[in-house]
Amino acid sequence: MFEGWDAVVLARAQFAFTMSFHIIFPAFSIGLASYLAVLEALWLWTGREVYINLFNYWLKIFAVAFGMGVVSGIVMSYQFGTNWSAFSDKTGPVIGPLMAYEVLTAFFLEAGFLGVMLFGLQRVGPKLHFLATLMVAIGTLISAFWILSANSWMQTPTGHAINADGQFIAADWLKVIFNPSFPYRLVHMVLAAYLTTALVVGAVGAWHLLRDRHLAGPRVMFSMAMWMATLVAPIQILAGDQHGLNTLEHQPVKIMAMEGHFQSHKDGAPLILFGLPNQSAGRVDYAIEVPKLGSVILKHSPDAPMAGLDTVPRENWPPVPITFWSFRIMVGMGLLMLALGLFSLLMRVQGKLYDSRLLHLFAVAMAPAGFIAVLAGWITTETGRQPFTVYGLLRTAESASPLAAPAVASSLIAFIIVYFAVFTAGVIYLLRLMAAPPHPGEEGPSHEVPIRSAGITPAAGAVTEGAAR
C-alpha cells in the first residue's frame, strides 16, 4: 500500500501538509491587520464608537489567528533544514538571506509591536497605539514581500551563479529579489489575502444581519467587506490573468499542466473547461472544450500555436491532474467572488444592502471561499513547478535530507495529529468569537482594563462562550 512512499515523497507530503496549514493563517492575518489599521484610523478620525468596537472585536480574532500563524511558521522555518537539507545547502546562500531579511524587517516588527497592539491601549494612548497597529500591519506586508520573493526565485530563478560546491550564489541581488514572476505573485497573494479577510468579515457581518438587520457593527463591517469584494475581485482576476501570461513566458510547462495541454496545437489551442487528465495516456478524457479560446486567452490570437507536454520529456512533467484541478477550483472561487461583489453592488444601488436575505446567505456561504482559493492557487503553483524545487535547475529528489523513510513518516504522523488537535480547537475558538456580534462598549479604551492576557478578560470570554452554546 505504501510502496513508492520513499523519504522524498514523505518529505513532500509533510511540507505540503504543514505549509497548507500555515498559509491559511497569514492569508487571513495579512488582510486582518490592514483592516484593523483602517478601523482604528477611522475611529481616530471620526470618533465614532462603532469603529473602536469593531476594532476590539476583530482584534481578539486576530490574536488567535496570528498565534496560530506564528507557531506554524516557526515549523516552516526549520523544516528547510530537517527535511530539505540538500536544498538548504545548495540554495541557502540565495534563499537564506531573503528569509533572514524577512525575520529582520517583518517578524520582529510584528512581534515587537503586537504586545502593545493587543494590550497597550491604556498604557500608551490612542496615537502611539495606532502606530503599533500600523507597524503590525506593515510588518505582515513586508513579510509577504520577502517570502514571495524567495518563493518566486525558486519558480523563476535569475541573478545567480553556481559555485564549485554546487551552491547557488547571488550574482546580482536586485535580480534575485525582483525576479521575473515576483511582482505578479506578490500582487496576486496580497490581493488574495485582502479578499480572504473581506469574505470572512463579510460573512460574519451577514450572519449577524440575518438575525438582526439593525445591528450597527455588523452593518458597517458587511458594507466595508462588500466594497472590498466589489472593487478587488475584478482587479484580482485581472492580476491573475497577468500572472498567467508571466507564467506562460517563464514556466510554460506549468501552463501546459494547468490547461491540460498534453498535445501541441499548431493552429489555435482550445480551452479545456473540464475533463479528466490522464497522465499515463497523455490525454484529457471526457474533455469539454471551447475551440481556440485557449490561444485567445494566453496569446490574444485565435490561431496562435501552443506547445503541449508532448514537447517536454516525461521526467519533467508535473503531476497534471492535481495542477489542472486545483487551478480550476481557484478560478471557480474567483468567479464566485466576482459574482458576490456584483450582487452586493446591485443591492447597494437599490438600497437593499442590509435587507437582502439572499445576499446575506450568499455572503455567509462564501466565508471559506478565500481560503479555498488560496490553497488551490498555492497547490497549482507548487505542483506545477514539479519535479523541481528550483525551476529547471534543482530537482526535488536532489533536495531532500539523507533521512530514512520511517523518520519522516513518524514526524509526518506527529504533525498531522498535533495540527489537527491544536488547530481544530483554535478554529472552534475563532468561530465562538465570531458567533457573538460586536456590541456597544466592546471592551475597549473606555474601560479601565490594566495589563491583561490575550485581549479579553476571562469573564467576558465565559460570556461569549455561554452565548455560543
Binding site: G67, S88, G96, P97, G115, V116, S401, Y429, S453
Partner: protein, 335 residues
C-alpha cells in the same frame, strides 16, 4: 589592507542571536516549566500575564537563529538539522502547543486545564529538546562529504540527556527569578523559595556538564587546560563563583531585580564556556566556521541588514518591555 573575516563576524552574530533567544525565550519557557507548581488559576493568570505581551518577540530570535544559520552557514544548517532531526521536531511541536496556549486558555473555561497542561508540556518538551540538541552538537555528529551520515538516534546519549536536564533547570531558574521581579506578595515569596532550590540544582548541572565536556574530545581538554590557555579559561569558573555568590546574596536580601539579571549573567558565562569549547568549529570536530560559510556576497548582503536593523529591533523591543514594566497585580488581570 586589513582582511575582514566575515565568517568570524557571522559566527558572533549567530551566537548573539541564539544567546538572546536563550535568555529571552528561556525565562518564558521557564514559566511554563514552573506552571504545575502554581496550581491556582489566579496565580497562573499572573504568571502568563507577565509575559503575554512580549513572548512572541522572544521567540522570533529562534527564527533569526535558524534563518541566519541557513543564510550565513548553509552547510552547517544542512548537516545539523538532519542530525538533530528528532529533537528539532519535538521542539517545534512543543512550541506549537505552548504558543497557542497563550491565546487558547483565555478562550475557554471548560478546556482551560487542557491548555495549562499544553503550556507546561510544550515548554518542558521544547526546553528538553533544545538542551539535548546542544549536547548532541557538542559531542559531534558524523559527517561525510557535505551531509550528515549518522543514524537518527545518534543524538541520544547520557551526555545529551544531561545537557537537556541542565537546560530545563536553567530555564526554570530564569522563570523563577523573572517572577520574583514581576510579582508581589505570596506569589513572589514562592518564587524566591523556588529560586533557591533551582539555583543549587543549576550549580550542580553546570558542574556536571563542565566535568563531562572535556571527556568528550581531547580538543576540549586542551582548549580548557593547556598552558597558557588555562590562564584565560580559568576566568570562566572564577566568574561563575563570583556571580553565584552575588546571586545568593541577592536572594537572601530579597532584591527584586538582581536575581534575574544575575541569573542572566550565569547563563552568559555558561554560554561563553560553550563558545570556548567549540570555536572555531560550528559542527564540532567536523566543520569549521570557514568551511561552512556562505559565499562572501551573501554574508555581506546580510551584514548591511543586521547592522542597520538589529539596533532598531533591540530599541523597539526594549520599548515594548518598558511599556509593560512593573509588577503584574493579581487582582488587575480579570474581574
Amino acid at each position: 589592507m586589513i582582511a575582514i573575516d566575515l565568517a568570524i563576524i557571522w559566527a558572533f552574530i549567530i551566537a548573539f542571536a541564539v544567546f538572546v533567544y536563550v535568555v529571552m525565550d528561556g525565562f518564558d519557557l521557564g514559566l511554563g516549566i514552573l506552571f504545575p507548581l502554581f496550581p491556582e488559576k489566579r496565580d497562573r493568570d499572573v504568571v502568563m500575564n507577565s509575559v503575554a505581551p512580549v513572548w512572541d518577540g522572544n521567540e522570533t530570535w529562534l527564527v533569526l537563529g535558524g534563518g541566519g544559520l541557513m543564510a550565513a552557514f548553509p552547510l552547517a544548517y544542512a548537516v545539523l538539522m538532519p542530525a538533530l532531526y528528532t529533537p528539532m521536531i519535538v521542539m517545534l511541536l512543543g512550541l506549537v502547543f505552548r504558543g497557542v496556549a497563550f491565546e487558547f486558555r483565555w478562550r475557554t473555561t471548560a478546556q482551560r486545564n487542557r491548555w495549562d497542561i499544553a503550556f507546561f508540556g510544550g515548554s518542558l518538551l521544547a526546553t528538553l529538546a533544545q538542551g539535548i540538541a546542544l549536547g548532541a552538537i557538542l559531542q559531534g555528529v558524523h559527517v561525510e562529504g557535505r551531509s550528515y551520515a549518522g543514524g537518527w538516534w545518534d543524538w541520544l546519549t547520557p551526555f545529551s540527556i544531561l545537557t537537556g536536564v541542565s537546560l530545563v533547570v536553567g530555564y526554570a531558574l530564569l522563570g523563577a527569578t523573572w517572577l520574583v521581579m514581576k510579582t508581589e506578595g505570596e506569589l513572589r515569596d514562592r518564587a524566591y523559595h523556588l529560586s533557591w532550590v533551582l539555583l543549587l540544582a543549576m550549580l550542580g548541572t553546570i558542574a556536571a556538564v563542565s566535568i563531562a565536556t572535556p571527556f568528550l574530545h581531547i580538543q576540549y581538554t586542551e582548549r580548557w587546560f593547556a598552558w597558557p590557555n588555562v590562564l584565560m579559561t580559568a576566568q570562566v569558573p572564577i566568574s561563575v563563583a563570583v556571580v553565584t555568590a552575588l546571586l545568593l546574596r541577592s536572594l537572601a536580601r530579597k532584591y527584586d531585580y538582581q536575581p534575574f539579571f544575575l541569573t542572566l549573567a550565569l547563563f552568559a558565562l555558561s554560554y561563553a564556556g560553550l563558545g570556548i569549547s567549540m570555536y572555531p568549529y560550528i559542527v564540532p570536530q567536523s566543520i569549521t566556521i570557514w568551511q561552512a560559510a556562505a559565499p562572501a556576497n551573501s554574508q555581506i548582503f546580510m551584514l548591511f541588514g543586521v547592522a542597520a536593523l538589529i539596533p532598531l529591533i533591540l530599541g523597539y523591543t526594549a520599548w515594548a518591555y518598558w511599556v509593560f514594566r512593573g509588577k503584574v497585580k493579581p487582582e488587575s488581570g480579570y474581574h
